[in-house]
């Protein structure tokens, strides 16, 4: 499955809504989890004998614990509003990738076993028996949803297919039919502390390397501390930031900002991962277990604040769920929100005038910004609704001279997912990743042709990895994707920096 045995869609001026073509993606399913990865997560090792009864029991259990699921299963009027909103449908033509088509895979079983109409008049309301084939269909299509919530924006009742996908994956996990990519990663995190399986010493090495690089570059000794007790701020960032381009340039940027703000900060080897794949598999228990590591790290290190690095779904779990899962955080400084986003931190410092920039450092680029789906539709930054759109743009504009937005129907709350979110960022799902990127690639290409855009900034580890892989399929260059804090890092003028002697140290310490 590694080689491209599919066609990359062609880019046109607009993404036309395709004519429904059944079954175009029925062949695609991710690799199935190995037994020990399932058991690590408290799921049965492989498909259980009595899967039929247990799947139905789980569905019943979930709908009694999640009001959203129950309401969403009941309320859809089949108005069709969501049908042309999913990037995976637009890229594949497969009607089971229309949000309501995807929901119906679960809904038809819900109706058959749990509703009056479905029990007695199944044909009338489209109810169907749960069979072995149903499971495979769930496995296939619920792993072709990046849980981006675009559909929920346009549904008159806010029906969120992401919630349905999570529930379906939880059901599949509960009968031993889990996905390799997600479950393996969660198991690794539980054992080692991050998704990439980087142990403490490796992190230490990397960070020392970064310190050397930055000092060589600027002559300033910026620290990248690990496990430093008594620091004010615990930075939790996606582990991709520790090694891959363009992620690591973002990490360098966070360090420079902290340095200039004059705050003490640290990373933690125990909680060296912002990502929380427990969300992708819809498992409250696993999501909580992962989150508790952050609480423990904060307690052990005695920090006062928690700040998250650039990552989309991680910011969702952090902003929307962390207080629920691992709170209350009454042991932290009550003057700051828990947690904060690194962009909130940086923007605040910029507004206070604590950071100096040479914007011309980014003059070789014309930038645009990709709103990550989870940040856009599942979180906030700052204290006003919509801050998640403004703050990243404000920061980019503060460090770059050339910025333009992509087409307004592809940004903000209507943003298109990169195509790799929700536990799909794995090579065995390359086909859906490439096809699902079509709307974003189209918007980017248009901005390049019409506005001369050269680079796209993002604030999500998944988006960055996904675009690095997918841009070349569409004839663009993998380096066109950059981290927002990479831009900050390139433009920031460190106090006492070699090539720019601008006098004595500014005494501003922020309000830390």
């Amino acid at each position: 499955m590694a080689k491209a045995d599919f066609e990359t869609p062609e880019l046109h001026e607009y993404v036309d809504v395709p004519a429904v073509t059944e079954g175009t993606m029925a062949h695609l399913s991710p690799f199935v989890a190995k037994p020990d990865h399932n058991t690590d997560l408290n799921f049965p090792p492989q498909l259980v004998e009595d899967w039929h009864a247990r799947a139905l029991d789980k569905l019943d259990d979930l709908r009694s614990r999640y009001r959203g699921l129950q309401v969403y299963l009941d309320s859809c009027v089949k108005c069709g509003s969501c049908t042309d909103k999913c990037h995976y449908f637009l890229g594949t033509k497969d009607p089971k990738n229309m949000p309501v088509g995807r929901q119906d895979l679960l809904r038809k079983v819900y109706r058959r076993y749990f509703t009056f109409a479905g029990k007695y008049f199944p044909k009338l309301v489209g109810a169907e028996d749960l069979t072995r084939d149903t499971l495979d269909e769930w496995y296939s299509y619920y792993h072709q949803c990046s849980q981006c919530r675009r559909c929920s924006v346009f549904c008159p009742y806010g029906i969120d297919t992401a919630e349905i996908s999570m529930a379906a994956r939880e059901i599949l996990d509960s009968i031993g039919y889990g996905q390799k990519y997600c479950n393996e990663i969660i198991a690794k995190l539980n054992k080692i502390g991050n998704n990439l399986g980087l142990p403490g010493p490796a992190l230490q090495d990397t960070l020392e390397g970064l310190e050397e690089d930055v000092e060589d570059d600027t002559g300033v000794a910026v620290k990248y501390p690990l496990d430093q007790k008594g620091a004010d701020i615990l930075l939790v960032t996606p582990s991709a930031d520790f090694f891959a381009e363009p992620h690591v340039d973002g990490l360098i940027g966070y360090g420079k900002v902290f340095h200039e703000a004059g705050v003490s900060w640290t990373l933690s080897s125990y909680a060296s991962e912002a990502a929380n794949f427990g969300m992708f598999i819809g498992s409250y228990e696993n999501m909580r277990r992962v989150s508790l590591r952050i609480r423990k790290a904060a307690l052990d290190l005695g920090v006062k604040r928690i700040v998250f690095g650039e990552c989309g779904h991680a910011w969702r779990v952090a902003y929307s769920f962390l207080n629920t899962l691992a709170g209350p955080f009454d042991f932290l400084d009550p003057d700051y929100p828990v947690p904060q986003h690194i962009l909130e931190f940086t923007w605040d410092q910029i507004q206070k005038g604590n950071l100096k920039f040479d914007k011309s450092a980014n003059d070789d680029k014309v930038l645009t910004f990709h709103d990550s789906c989870n940040v856009a539709r599942a979180t906030r930054m700052g204290n006003k609704p919509g801050g998640q759109f403004e703050i990243p743009r404000n920061v980019i504009k503060a460090v770059c001279n050339n910025y333009v937005d992509m087409h307004h129907e592809t940004i903000g709350e209507r943003t298109f997912c990169c195509g790799g979110g929700g536990g799909l960022l794995t090579d065995d799902l390359m086909e859906i990743r490439v096809k699902g990127a079509l709307p974003r690639m189209t918007a980017l290409r248009n901005a390049m042709e019409e506005e001369g855009v050269t680079h796209m900034a993002a604030i999500c580890a998944i988006c960055k990895s996904q675009f690095t892989k997918v841009l070349p399929y569409y004839g663009m260059d993998m380096d066109q994707i950059v981290s927002v804090h990479q831009l900050v890092s390139d433009a920031i003028i460190l106090t006492g920096q070699d090539d720019d002697e601008d006098g004595e140290e500014s005494e501003n310490e922020g309000e830390a």
Partner: protein, 242 residues
């Protein structure tokens, strides 16, 4: 025959009220364990009330999406609302002043309703994506509503029925007093289908009416950092593990 209708409407009313109450109770009882409003979301309760208001009155989200569906859907629902308000005159004596005032509009709202429904039906049949997601019941609902509307309009504009008699039947029925109905075909059709609608309401997609108000993606306040949100079952799990 009139006795049949009396009993039918008593049963239909019971099913509608009890069925809906059970569903509403189920929704109210089921916790939403995580904060999942579709963002950007209001940051206080007043904002949530406004958001729901805009959804209910203007179909805001649908408007963002497909203008044709919005247009027909909104015409249908607005027409339906006026028609139902106008119908209240069959159930009260004397008739409340606002209900009297809307009578002239209500009469034509029936057309808006039927045109809207027809538009939705055409869309359902001809747009391939909507056709794909439709099951027989989705078409039937539109047909039922169109026939209710059409038979009503027949009575209003073509073959008038004895509305005074209809009124005394239903006002009487409210006090469990079984009267007689004029036995005209359009009225029979009208009433049979209305009773059917009432009977099916709590078991069908018409649950979108309570559903909208209980949808966590629309009715939650965006304040997870300020206020800890925790469901009873999650709290119990926490206590057990610590």
């Amino acid at each position: 025959m009139s006795l049949f209708f009396s009993l039918l409407f008593i049963v239909a009313t019971l099913v509608l009220v009890i069925g809906l109450a059970r569903k509403i109770f189920q929704y109210a009882r089921t916790p939403a364990p995580l904060k999942i409003p579709t963002m950007p979301a209001p940051i206080n309760q007043a904002g949530v009330v406004m958001r729901l208001f805009r959804e209910v009155v203007f179909f805001e989200s649908l408007f963002k999406s497909t203008k044709w569906t919005w247009l027909f859907g909104w015409m249908f629902h607005l027409g339906l609302l006026l028609v139902l308000l106008r119908h209240l005159r069959y159930f009260m004596d004397p008739v409340w002043l606002p209900i009297q005032l809307i009578q002239p509009f209500g009469k034509y709202a029936g057309f808006a309703m039927v045109i809207g429904l027809a538009g939705l039906l055409v869309r359902r049949i001809f747009v391939d994506r909507v056709r794909y997601i439709s099951s027989p019941s989705d078409y039937l609902w539109l047909v039922i509503l169109i026939v209710i509307g059409f038979s009503g309009l027949m009575m209003s504009f073509v073959v008038h029925t004895d509305v005074v008699m209809v009124k005394s039947f239903f006002v009487g029925l409210l006090g469990f007093d079984f009267g007689t109905l004029p036995l005209d075909l359009p009225l029979m059709v009208h009433l049979l289908l209305v009773a059917l609608l009432m009977l099916l309401f709590p078991f069908s997609k018409l649950l979108h009416v309570p559903g909208l108000f209980f949808s966590p993606s629309r009715n939650q306040v965006d304040n997870p950092r300020e206020k800890r949100h925790i469901a009873p079952w999650a709290k119990a799990m926490e206590d057990q593990q610590s």
